[in-house]
C-alpha cells in the first residue's frame, strides 16, 4: 500500500479479506458439525442466496421490489418441472432454471424503468401475483394449489446422492450460494458495479456523467432475477416439492426483511440476515407456532423505528440521542 490513490480506494472493497475464506470454510463445515441441523443450514443457504439477489437490485441499485418472489418461484417451478419431465440431474436443472428466470427477468426489466417507487412496488408485486395465478390455474401442469409433487432428484454430478439427513443438500446449496456469491461480489466491485452505485446514489448525476442508466438497471435486474431463480431451484431440488407459496407476497416481504436486518448494499448482509432470520423463525415458531408473524411484525416495526444501525450496535443506544422503544 504505497499510494492511497482514489482508484485503490475504490478497489479496496474488492480485495478478499482474511476472514472471508474462513467464513466459507465454516459454512462448509456446518453440516458436519451440526449433522442434525443440516436441513436448517440448507434453508439458510437458499434464503441467503435469495437475499443476495435482492441486494443486487435493492442495495446496489436502489430499486424497491416487492415482487422478487416472482423469480424465485419461476426458478423453483422450472427446476421442479425440469426434473419431473426431462431429466433428474440437479446441476442441469439448476442451469435451466437460472436461464429461464433470467429470461423472465429480462422481460420484467422493461417494467421497472419508468415511474416512482410506488409504481415500481406495484409492478413488481403484480408480476409475482400474475405468475402465482398462472401456476394456480394451470393445475394439470403445475399441480395447482396442491403443489408440484414427486420431484425426484438424481445424484449431484452423478456422484453424491441426496441423503435423508439433508447433508448433501446442504453442501450442494452452500456451494451454489458460494459460486453465485463470488460472481456477484466480482460484479459489484467491477466498474459496472460502480456505475450501479452511482445510479443508486444520484440518478441524475449518473446520467450526467454518461452512465446509461436505463440499460444498467435492466441488466442488473435481469442478473438478479437469474440469481433468485437459482435460489428457487435449490429449494425445489432439495425439498422435492414446489408449492404456490413460492410466489407469495410473504416471501418477497421476508426476503426484504432479511436483507434489511443484515444490511443493505453489502453482499454479506443477505447471508447474515438469512442466518439471523432463520434462527429467529425457528426459535419463535417453536414457542408460538401460530402467531410467530406477530413477533416478526413487532421486530420489523421496532427495527425501523429504532433504526437498523442502532439496533445492530446496541452500545450506541446510550450515546447522545436516545430514542425509539423496544
Amino acid at each position: 500500500m504505497k499510494t492511497a490513490t482514489q482508484a485503490s480506494a475504490v478497489l479496496a472493497g474488492a480485495r478478499w479479506r482474511v476472514w472471508e475464506p474462513l467464513l466459507w470454510l465454516a459454512a462448509l463445515a456446518a453440516p458436519l458439525l451440526f449433522p442434525s441441523h443440516a436441513l436448517i443450514v440448507n434453508e439458510v443457504a437458499i434464503v441467503a442466496l435469495f437475499a443476495v439477489s435482492l441486494d443486487l437490485v435493492l442495495g446496489y441499485t436502489g430499486i424497491v421490489s416487492l415482487g422478487h418472489a416472482a423469480f424465485f418461484g419461476m426458478g423453483a417451478y422450472a427446476a421442479g418441472l425440469f426434473a419431473k419431465l426431462v431429466m433428474p440431474d440437479p446441476v442441469v436443472g439448476l442451469l435451466v432454471a437460472v436461464a429461464l428466470s433470467t429470461a423472465l427477468g429480462a422481460l420484467c426489466s422493461l417494467t421497472i424503468m419508468r415511474g416512482t417507487d410506488l409504481t415500481r412496488l406495484m409492478v413488481t408485486l403484480g408480476v409475482a401475483l400474475i405468475l402465482g395465478e398462472i401456476a394456480n390455474k394451470y393445475s394439470d401442469f403445475t399441480g395447482g394449489a396442491d403443489g408440484l409433487q414427486g420431484v425426484v432428484m438424481g445424484p449431484v454430478l452423478g456422484l453424491f446422492e441426496f441423503d435423508l439427513y439433508g447433508r448433501v443438500a446442504a453442501w450442494y446449496s452452500i456451494v451454489v450460494l458460494m459460486v453465485f456469491f463470488v460472481l456477484s461480489r466480482r460484479l459489484v466491485h467491477s466498474p459496472f458495479g460502480a456505475t450501479l452505485k452511482a445510479i443508486r446514489d444520484n440518478r441524475l448525476r449518473a446520467m450526467a456523467i454518461g452512465v446509461p442508466v436505463l440499460s444498467r438497471l435492466a441488466v442488473i435486474y435481469t442478473i438478479a432475477a437469474g440469481v433468485a431463480g437459482a435460489a428457487g431451484a435449490l429449494l425445489a431440488q432439495t425439498s422435492g416439492f414446489v408449492s404456490l407459496d413460492v410466489f407469495a407476497f410473504d416471501r418477497s416481504a421476508d426476503v426484504m426483511l432479511i436483507l434489511v436486518v443484515g444490511g443493505v448494499g453489502w453482499l454479506y448482509g443477505g447471508v447474515a440476515g438469512a442466518i439471523v432470520f432463520k434462527l429467529m423463525q425457528d426459535w419463535l415458531s417453536s414457542i408460538t407456532p401460530q402467531y410467530w408473524t406477530f413477533w416478526l411484525g413487532l421486530f420489523l416495526v421496532v427495527l425501523v423505528l429504532v433504526g437498523r444501525e442502532r439496533l445492530l450496535r446496541p452500545w450506541t443506544w446510550f450515546g447522545a440521542s436516545k430514542g425509539g422503544k423496544a
Binding site: V64, T116, L118, L121, M122, M256, Y291, L298, L305
Partner: protein
C-alpha cells in the same frame, strides 16, 4: 350483462371507499402505508363484534366502525407514523408491513381464524330484477345500498376537498408542505385529521364490505393489493382518479371472474401493469403535482 356491470360498480365503489384514505395518505404525506387494510379490518371486526355480542343494529354499526378505526388511526398517527414521514420509502414499506403482520396475528389470536359472518337486516336482503331493453338487470338490495352510501360519501368528500376551508388547506399541504406551513396552515393538524378520516373511511369500507368481501384475519394482506392498485392506477392528486380507477378495477374484476373464471385475478394485474408502464404516475394524475 347489466347485472355484471351493476355488481362491478358496487364492488368498485366499495374498493373506492376502502382505498380513498390510502390515496390521501400517499398523495398527501408521500407515505407508502401498506397497513391501510388493517384499519379496514378493524372496522369490519368492530361491526361484527357490535352486532354479534351487543345486537347493535347494522346501520348504527357503520358510523361506529368509522369512529373506532378513525380514532385508532389518529392514535397511531401521533405515536408511530409521524416519525416515519421523513424516512425513505423502503423504511415505510417495512414499517407498515410489520404493522400489518402484527394486526393479522393479533386478530387471529383474539378472534380466531375463521371467516366472520354478519346478519344483514331484512330490508337489505333480497334483490330486484328489471327487464330493460338491454337485458335483465338484477340488483341486490345490499349492493344498491353500498352504491348509495359510497356515492354520498364521494360527493361529500369532493365537496369537502373542493369547497371548504379545510379542503383548501389540505390541497395546499398536498402541493407544497413547506409553503403551506409558511402560510400559517398547521400542517400537523391537517395531516392528523386527514389520516384519521382516511383510516375511518377504511374502517367504514371494511364494515360495509364484510358481507361482500368476507372478513377473516388475512383481510389486510388479501386486499392490500387491491387498494394499492386503485391508488397506483388512479394517481394520488385527486379523488376522481382513484374513484374511476376503483370503478374500472371493480368492473374488470367482476366481469373477468364471470366471463373467464380460469384467468381469475390475472386480468386485473395485467391491466394494472399495462397502465402503470404506460402512465407511471397514474391514469389521472395532474401535471405538476408531487410525484
Amino acid at each position: 350483462m347489466l347485472t355484471i356491470l351493476f355488481d362491478g360498480i358496487a364492488y368498485g365503489m366499495l374498493l373506492f371507499v376502502l382505498a380513498v384514505g390510502l390515496a390521501v395518505t400517499m398523495g398527501l404525506m408521500n407515505f407508502i402505508n401498506l397497513a391501510h387494510g388493517a384499519f379496514a379490518m378493524v372496522g369490519g371486526y368492530t361491526t361484527v363484534l357490535l352486532m354479534q355480542r351487543l345486537q347493535v343494529p347494522f346501520l348504527v354499526c357503520l358510523p361506529l366502525a368509522f369512529l373506532v378505526s378513525g380514532l385508532l388511526g389518529a392514535v397511531l398517527e401521533r405515536t408511530l407514523y409521524r416519525p416515519m414521514y421523513r424516512r425513505p420509502h423502503l423504511d415505510q414499506v417495512l414499517f407498515s408491513i410489520g404493522l400489518t403482520f402484527m394486526a393479522v396475528a393479533a386478530m387471529d389470536y383474539f378472534m380466531g381464524s375463521s371467516q366472520q359472518i354478519i346478519q344483514l337486516p331484512a330490508y337489505l336482503k333480497g334483490r330486484s330484477e328489471f327487464d330493460t331493453p338491454l337485458g335483465l338487470l338484477g340488483m341486490g338490495h345490499y349492493r344498491l345500498f353500498i352504491i348509495a352510501v359510497c356515492a354520498a360519501l364521494t360527493v361529500a368528500l369532493q365537496f369537502i376537498l373542493a369547497r371548504t376551508r379545510f379542503g383548501s388547506r389540505l390541497r395546499a399541504a398536498v402541493d407544497d408542505q413547506r409553503v403551506a406551513a409558511g402560510l400559517g396552515i398547521n400542517v400537523n393538524i391537517v395531516f392528523l385529521s386527514t389520516f384519521a378520516v382516511g383510516s375511518g373511511l377504511a374502517g367504514l369500507g371494511g364494515a360495509l364490505g364484510t358481507e361482500v368481501l368476507g372478513l377473516d384475519p388475512t383481510f389486510p394482506l388479501k386486499f392490500m393489493i387491491y387498494f394499492l392498485i386503485v391508488v397506483a392506477v388512479g394517481g394520488t392528486s385527486s379523488i376522481t382518479g382513484p374513484l374511476l380507477a376503483a370503478l374500472l378495477l371493480g368492473i374488470a374484476d367482476v366481469a373477468g371472474k364471470y366471463y373467464v373464471p380460469k384467468l381469475g385475478g390475472f386480468i386485473v394485474y395485467s391491466l394494472m401493469i399495462a397502465i402503470l408502464i404506460w402512465r407511471p404516475h397514474g391514469l389521472f394524475s395532474r401535471l405538476g403535482g408531487k410525484s
